[in-house]
Assembly symmetry: C2
Homo-oligomer: 419 residues x 2
Amino acid sequence: MENPHGTLEVLDAEGLSAIHTASTRVLEELGIELWSPEARRLFADAGAKIDGEVVRIGADIVEAALATAPSSFTLTSRNPSKQLRIGGRSMAFGLVAGPAAVHDEIEGRRASNMADYENFIRLAHYFNAIHIIGNQVVAPMELPANTRHLDAYRANLMLSDLSYHCTSIGRGRALDGIQMMAISRGDSLDDMAAAPGVTTIISVNSPRRFDAEMASGLMTMAEHGQPVSVTPFTLMGAMAPVTLAAALAQQNAEALFGIALTQLVRPGAPVLYGAFTSNVDMRSGAPAFGTPEQVKANVASGQLARRYGLPYRASNSSASNVVDAQAAYETQMSLWGCVLGGANLVYHAAGWMEGGLQASYEKLILDVEMLQQTMEFLTPVPCSGPDLAFDAMERVPTGGHFSATSTPSNAMRPPSTRH
Amino acid sequence: MENPHGTLEVLDAEGLSAIHTASTRVLEELGIELWSPEARRLFADAGAKIDGEVVRIGADIVEAALATAPSSFTLTSRNPSKQLRIGGRSMAFGLVAGPAAVHDEIEGRRASNMADYENFIRLAHYFNAIHIIGNQVVAPMELPANTRHLDAYRANLMLSDLSYHCTSIGRGRALDGIQMMAISRGDSLDDMAAAPGVTTIISVNSPRRFDAEMASGLMTMAEHGQPVSVTPFTLMGAMAPVTLAAALAQQNAEALFGIALTQLVRPGAPVLYGAFTSNVDMRSGAPAFGTPEQVKANVASGQLARRYGLPYRASNSSASNVVDAQAAYETQMSLWGCVLGGANLVYHAAGWMEGGLQASYEKLILDVEMLQQTMEFLTPVPCSGPDLAFDAMERVPTGGHFSATSTPSNAMRPPSTRH
């Protein structure tokens, strides 16, 4: 889907520059802790300063990376008719990802299992508002942890025809995901590199730490030309300073660092600017989502991503524990932040509950309704002759009604087409 | 409150012009039915073509009106510290207005009475998110219909210090409202004209009809220099064609007609471009609110108002019958339409339920929460040195936390300041 209406700006040019400059200073003066010796060698070869596990990089390394990172790319699943362009004004919605608990109205909150996993994939395949499968929609808790990802990839491929997310905890899980998509497409790994088919998120252990497993996952994906969303988890007041400007500066430093690593591995590898800045309840420390601060963060992060010419990944989210008014308004808030920020890839777009601790069947249905409304909003308003319906206005008398007046059918689609 | 983030556009320049041109054609060729002989005389004197009760006006009359209508004005209540500027990037929220039923969790849905009226005014006075009192928040059904407005104005003045809406069904009710505000301010009617203190909405009986009572109310308010929101009620598929472009063209014609009338009465009288375009369920005919079509209509109407250099009035609304997830997401949708359309005056911002048939205490509280979030979104993001908190980032080790780190306090306000 393409956004015809454009984006908003919550930072003026000065503010945007100030955040960029602060993040440059973080990278140069404070550095990022990087647990992977292999990744540290790549940075060292590029001229970074290595001090134990801490890597300090100059603007030259960042600029070189931004020069080779593409501004858009296309994801090709086993169904080529569902190609997803990621970049520019495109927007795609992904299924909730990551919870180890599931909720439905009948059985309540419980540990998730493979049957739940499969059900969610079926729903993702069915609804026109889900365009990609995120990380494991729920953890199939009854399956062995070290092979679970294979069962998940298999379900993704058998029960849907969408591109999916490779779990990038280490090299093996990422490579398995790439290879299984290649098999389903009948393609080689070289074909996959030429036309990527899977994606991943690398979550930074904010503040300023990349662990070995995530660095390894990032490098594997980049080596094979598969896109990576580098996403700092910068909750204001917890993993980042409490001010929005500072949290954005830290997010920006961490994101640019990971983005630079992808380009050191494979110049031209597709990579997304990832943002997950929100706030916490400062009394309890509980993460808060769908807050006005998160809306601003989502919009501001879009400005940063566009400054760097990178596709942008954000999230839809809510901290509510049930499918209630709070769940709806928090989800709307973060979703509007994604729309107005120009997010190209929206993770957790449907089914996320309890700050990401639960996947909910009912929430998924509610979210799909809201996503479909967003999709309808993101269509142009046709204003040609027939759309202006002058003849209809002429035919209906003053004080009359249009309930039985035929007019062009292109502006209103019946609800039945929204599945 | 001022919106620092700007607005969105859902119509391109061509679409905007096409709607303007179509509305000009409606005014010139089809005309508007106007039941007030006094108002018809004003149009006749200005050169309009009068055919029975139908008035056809050319672009000259519209352009003359737009040349004298002010682009902004200030409302002064009995508390001068609560002056409201209406126009430009300003945004003000009004209480729900009009229902004859009320709902609370304990007593359920019932006919409203004066005690309810007074309670809602107390709540409007208390919350920082309510800036103006709309038309009667609920009808005090037990009081005589012909003096009810006096009781309502009295409660507005005794239980709040906000500007309020005069019921403009005929000359008398409007004049009573103006005079009572003048008394409370210790001002004359001339003082009131120099510094308006009340406002009203003139709802057009769409399609293309102004009844005598509303025309009379409009003329009274304009004579006394009090602002009028001219608001066609153009539900697509019912009172307007089913396409958005045509509904906007009809809305635009009707709004410009009423706006022209205010300027014929008193050149320079403050007037707002009013919009209330949404759609109906085409199977049942039931009005729908908070739909993607309404969001587009709210944004597009802002583009039209800015084209004409007029302040803009829109509405927050939902068709839900209870305070549930639907109520929350529909309200969010229409509220974002108001924000992104640059609405200066948002009627029904808090407490509206069941498509305007009920005022709800619980919905008011939910809406105030959402309005306060919107207000927080509509604050700038400070990005000066201390906001970037480099020292905090320097002090917190990699992988550490900021939960006990002092940073500037200007970005996060504790919830207790949101009342």
